[in-house]
């Protein structure tokens, strides 16, 4: 009986809640002050903080330059140039430096995932791509790209089933992308 009632109870609860927004949700929101106002600066990791996944607003997903400060953009740029010039180690060093500047920027983790894949370290590539996803928030294109990296990594490891699963995740997020 209760099993059947649960969805009903929850959904009715939701209706009931619609007219009753919780005012004392935990954790309490920080009081607005200058420090927090300043935290919305361009390079703060909060700006890379995803909006909750439940947020179904259909805004276009933020791009690298929208969520990153100029230092990170410059470092990732130089990381790509170094990689193209055949210097993967310094390319990774540049990306890691970007991580020191913005430790929770999912684009930086994605860059490192790609570098590890190029360097023949698929396990690391998958770990970094998943870390990127864990910080991606509502950003279907970013997630799609990460799942494609994961698929490649798994294929490199001989895990074709896992690779296919990753690809279908990639397709799912690609389908959500605007």
């Amino acid at each position: 009986m209760r099993r059947l009632l649960l969805p009903l109870a929850v959904s009715m609860g939701m209706l009931w809640l619609a007219g009753c927004a919780p005012r004392a949700a935990y954790p309490p929101p920080p009081p607005p002050d200058s420090q927090d106002a300043a935290e919305s600066g361009p390079s703060d990791d909060q700006s890379a903080e995803p909006s909750p996944t439940s947020d179904a607003s259909a805004e276009p997903a933020p791009t690298l330059t929208e969520v990153s400060g100029p230092a990170v953009v410059a470092l990732l740029d130089s990381s790509e140039q170094l990689a193209r010039a055949g210097n993967p180690d310094r390319a990774a060093a540049a990306a890691e430096r970007a991580l020191d500047v913005e430790p929770r920027n999912p684009f930086v983790y994605q860059r490192l995932a790609a570098l590890y894949l190029d360097q023949g370290q698929p396990e690391q590539a998958e770990a970094f791509a998943r870390k990127s996803n864990s910080l991606a928030g509502r950003n279907p294109p970013l997630r799609a790209a990460n799942w494609r990296l994961i698929a490649e990594a798994r294929r490199a490891l001989g895990d074709t089933v896992g690779a296919d699963a990753a690809l279908s995740r990639a397709d799912y997020f690609a389908g959500q992308s605007l």
Binding site: L5, L17, A21, E96, R104
Partner: protein, 754 residues
Amino acid sequence: MAVAALYTVYLDVQVRGRFEGARWTLPAKVYADPVELYIGQEATPASVVSDLARQGYRRDQDIDAAGTFRAGGSSVDLHTRAFDFWDGHQPDRRLRLAFGGGRIQSLTALDDGDDPALMRLDPMLIGSIYPSGKGEDRILVKLGEVPPMLPAGLIMVEDRNFMDHFGVSPKAILRAAVANLRAGGVVQGGSTITQQLVKNFYLTNQQTLVRKAKEAMMAILLDAHYDKEAILEAYLNEVYLGQEGGRAIHGFGLASYFYFAKPVEELQAHEIALLVAMVKGPSYYDPRRHPDRAESRRNLVLDIFEESGFLDSEAAVAARGRPLGVTDAGNRGTSQYPAFIDLVRRQLKGQYKDEDLTEEGLRIFTTLDPDVQSAAHEQVANGLEALERSQGVDGGELQAAAVVTSVEGGRILALVGGRQSRGAGFNRALDAQRPIGSLAKPAVYLTALDRPRQYHLLTPLDDRPLRVELANGDIWEPANYDNQSHGAAVPLYEALTKSYNVATARLAVDLGLPSVVDTLKALGYPGDPIPVPALALGAVEMSPMEVAQIYNTLAAGGYYTPLLAIRAVTTRQGEPLNRYPLQLRRAFDEQSVYLLNWILQRVPREGTARSAYLTLPDRLQVAGKTGTTNELRDSWFAGYGGDRVGVVWVGRDDNQPTRFSGATGALQLWSRMMRDIEPTSFKPARPEGIQTLPVRLSASDDRRPVGRDCDQAVQVPFMAGFVPEGLVPCDAPVAPDAEPADDRDSNWFLDLFR
């Protein structure tokens, strides 16, 4: 005659061998993490000026030379030093930093280059790796690179005829002999610079006539073979200029850092004069211990500089009026970071031979953050003393250790091995293996939350007395800290926030102790603890560093990254030898860790670590766990903000009881340390597959009347698809028997369906 000739040949071989071979062994140089300057970085003119001052940058209106700056109200102009980093050469630059809103707003080139997006200051030299016991340390300089006043001044003060004599100076010997005869003892040496070099290079420190003769002969041979410049350059690098414990400071290159925290090229007249003055007796004229003596001899040297025409009288007067300008002892590196340098040494061991580290002049780029280190050190030293006073404990018995890491990247930012700041000593941060008490509990709860079919945050746990028969037949009966039972249905999250032992032990037994061991290992614990029920309550010994590794994984959302103290090693010339790349392992599902972190954030808000917020600002979100072991032998706190993990241990070396629990001891130091290092708030990204429901939670000691609306509701996260049955928003979900609710507050919503 033949014997004399043969002996001369023998001496000649000796002289040339040393002078032409590898002349010096060069200890590896250890650098702190460089200060990064970039748009958007949190900084003020004052904070940047303090960074610059610490690294010996000099105020100067025209910033023509590297290592200078000028500060305005909302901007700082600086001329950075060129430096060979592990990822390449960074040339010196002239830049303007503009500030606003507590951040750097722009970096503008004042030279011909482009505006950089970011820029590193040259890193602070924090120490050297020299052989244990006794070691010479130096940084080589070239004659052409040092300020000309230095070699010229040395000649004027130490050996006026240096450019003309043939290695020894009969005139000087005669003058000294007369002076000594008059005084009836040795008051003056007639040694030339060449002889001093020979003495340092080849001979022991005995004062015998034979040795004197040998010294003179070798000096003549040296002078015959090599030009004056080569001899002078060798002298600049060899001369003894100070001592720090077992480490002998040789040469002007290192002395410049040791006393002024900057390269020798940047020394000013009064600083050059002080170093030249110290040649006569580095310990007698030690500017830190004997500033008056040092100053009067420095001014004497400045007089000689003026007479010799190196300085005009105006400049000489100004220089004599300058303070000594040596950095204070607390700021001079090495001795301040013994525990960290010890860690660096250990991480390099196995990859490099001892000789490579102590002889080849390698450059080691570490992750140490001097500001964080100084905050951690401050709390372990002075905070511990305050703690002792507050409890009326006799000073000195208590010890502490601390580790601070960066969360993402697992960088070790600070390491404090004990309250004594000097000397290596016992490195408790690495070597004190202590039971971790309740710090082990999160591993139990993570094991549970990783099984969403069975456990969620509100699962009722049984806290009633527990008896477990162990494999050896013993009976194990854990008790709660307050010796109370909290009933048969404590919500899971509450059992951890309040650190209930019995509920946790029963949970661990239900989960199976081998699973808890697996969790500890996945989080990064390298040991192999015995899977006994007491493990759930912390019957496993760890060092603060090992605890930091585990909690770093939790803070990083379940991603394990090996803690690192070193970024890269290069040769003396800056060629990369080794880089320590960032590595990740996904240790747990993000969702499970997210749920656990939801609990650990409540610990400082309403659980055992409430007193943290007496010190920390209310808006700062932190998470963590207290730990206390039997009879208060160990007091632990491990916790984190968004970008800093801190672990503090307090206890005694003899393992006797203290008067401190985790909350009254380690937590107090941790809170003050975190207040000082200002971490960001811990706001984990909500993973996919987590949904939240507003639920009214009432802690059992919370008897406030609860309204029918959602005033007291809390957003509780659940794994999607595993939201518990019967859960109604804004209602107390579990443990109805622990919740005496009156009619008004009864579960009216669920009643509709009964």
